[in-house]
Amino acid sequence: MSGDHASSTISAQVRHVESLLESRGLLDPGEIDTRIDEFLAGGTPANGARIAARAWTDPGFTDRLLTDANTAIREVGLSMAGGLQEQRLKVVANTPDEHHVVVCTLCSCYPIALLGPSPTWYKSEAYRSRVVRDPRGVLREFGLELPDDIAITVWDASAESRYMVLPRRPKGTDALTEPELTALVTRKGLIGTAAV
């Protein structure tokens, strides 16, 4: 597994390539930073929360979301096309019988457009290596104690798809509006390390 890149030679290599591209006129000075800023500006867990709240209030939307998430999220004005290419999105729904959790064991792939920049622990080797082997134990450390009769599925983002968990709608929320439901959804809930 790769570790922290911040102080490694790869950072120097990337800066070198960037300056070569700029010196040859293939890239405007600062263009990469600008593009990254633009991409990140739209990425926040509030996007994923809106998707979850819509799914809780609209069963038809839930069906479309679980079948073809890229098309469905356009109904709420969202898209996975903010980067260089549209990424495939796979949404997996928690049920009374099954709980899902997301990891990238190879690096730190993550749906930034829907969840914002990933939390530090998501990129840590401890989370990445342990959650595939002992998800029940790792979730317990996050404060999520799942009964033994709930099956756990871990999704490893080892190729090109990005994943989002659709949490279960909390009990006692029948009277809440869609914006009120949106406010209940947390980033951990959308990764699967918390219930909501």
């Binding site: 495939r88 190879l106 082997r133 756990i152 599925t153 080892s158 190729a159 090109e160 798809s161």
Partner: protein, 96 residues
């Protein structure tokens, strides 16, 4: 493009440890799992990382029982794998 491994197909992953970049995680090598669905078609990351020309080919969500990967555990792990990493499991090979 035809689906090489339709949902429900039992597949075994490659066992080799190639030089350089690959997207077949070490823990999932040589294991038997079941195809959930195709996850689109993409150029093979192993070849792209080496700067080689590469055509898009099928990528699959493959579900493995934890016991088949680690020898223990009651959960499942779904790994997303290029068809290059997979071959159909022998009929007697059942996910353990």
């Amino acid at each position: 493009m035809a689906d090489r491994f339709p949902p429900g197909t039992r597949v075994r992953t490659r066992t080799g440890d190639p030089d350089g970049h690959t997207r077949l995680p070490r823990y999932a090598r040589g294991a038997v799992g079941t195809v959930v669905e195709r996850a689109g078609t993409h150029p093979l990351a192993d070849e792209r990382a080496r700067g080689r020309a590469t055509d898009p080919r099928g990528v699959y969500h493959v579900r493995f029982p934890a016991a088949a990967l680690f020898g223990a555990g009651d959960h499942s792990v779904v790994v997303e794998l290029w068809e290059d990493y997979l071959h159909e499991a022998d009929p007697e090979e059942v996910p353990s």
